[in-house]
Homo-oligomer: 270 residues x 2
Amino acid sequence: MIDCGEGAQTAFARQGLNMNRLGHIFISHNHGDHVFGLPGLISTMGLLGRTADLHIHGPQQMEEFMDVVLRIYCEGMTYKVIFHSVDTTRHQIVHQDRSMTVWSIPLNHRIPCSGYLFRETPPQPHIRREMIDAYDIPFSQINNIKAGASWVTEDGTIIPNERLTTPPEPPRSYAYCSDTSYLPTLPELLKGTTLLYHEATYPQELLARALETCHSTAHQAALIARDAGVGRLCIGHYSGRIKDEAAHLREAREIFTNTILADEGLVLKL
Amino acid sequence: MIDCGEGAQTAFARQGLNMNRLGHIFISHNHGDHVFGLPGLISTMGLLGRTADLHIHGPQQMEEFMDVVLRIYCEGMTYKVIFHSVDTTRHQIVHQDRSMTVWSIPLNHRIPCSGYLFRETPPQPHIRREMIDAYDIPFSQINNIKAGASWVTEDGTIIPNERLTTPPEPPRSYAYCSDTSYLPTLPELLKGTTLLYHEATYPQELLARALETCHSTAHQAALIARDAGVGRLCIGHYSGRIKDEAAHLREAREIFTNTILADEGLVLKL
């Protein structure tokens, strides 16, 4: 889960999601609209008897709030909440498991703020069944070949790995960049990301307001997407001043066609 | 406002209520489901540019949470939040203005907990227009007569106030009692209350569970209403274990007929 605004626990119920499947929560920055759902979510999972550790990653600034919430409201809970401080000034690995690696993305907001980049562990290549049969390669060797090994026939001929396999699908990736002013350093970090979520708080005509509050315009979000060559851009975090969402979307699409608007409950497949 | 669970600010919007009309919030006790809506509500009113002071009354135990929230998330807000510590062991006036007096009600929960009793300031009696005309009483005397004065005619006859006025409607009152175990001392404090909200977390068949968790059953809530001779009882704060709300209501109505079930968005007129 990324960020946790007020009402997150009821959103889980509304979406038919099981909050106990949550292992890690990544928080971008210590503003209320990104953290005020944590106390309720954490204590409700306690009431439901959760036992698995919950890891929360976020800027050091949120630790004091977490400490008070855990000490005052979560006494005697059946599971542990483990906080991991994220250095918001660096692009580095903050979490890794078998399926993915999570990187921090330094953003520029009024307070320390980090985006997150989720990179799938590169899938293994596909075995070419007909080649395995042709060379009579035993089943025990399949994993080695998936891992890159070539095959040596009885007469010493080397069958290179590329002939035994077809390349895997490219690894998928998702980047979350909110809240931030326009940051020209971002595209370099986001090269080729499958899906980019980038905040677009204001339209370009309120650029001065965006600069003042360290937010981005739809136009700027699209520049980042274009310069990073991402697959798709999803914009969100709109200001209450945006009355015409279609116009907001058009502004972004003028720069980067493959843009969609974020919406409550929207589900995207990578 | 009484108590402030997570999502309170969105409930205001859903009900079409203006949160800036809030002057005082009364919190019963420092459990998450009664306070986790405060950070969002307070900071959103700040973003909306509220200027009027907001008074929060509640047990001293919640002050540390409030302090952290205000210090970390509400810096530079355009209005002040003033916390008033409520002594949860005493029945005393915690707030008074021209229209009402608010009393604390000592409750018995797992942590210090206070109910609240809202008593309307007794309305003034109604002037009997025909008597005013008959005795030719000048307009300037009306307020004195409303306040209880009698009238002396030119020949010295005293017309007692009771002949010049009809009694006002009885003052209305509302009592909020949640969370609490069954407290036989309550009826004495709640005598004749117009509307009583009393928690009814469990059905009587889970009495042991109610005792253990310091909650009440529907049966017990109705006993309080009956013994206090209240006008109407509203029960709520149901456990997730209550699948049959109609049965829960029947259990209370066996003791006290004029009982209704609380529900999200329910509006009651006193």
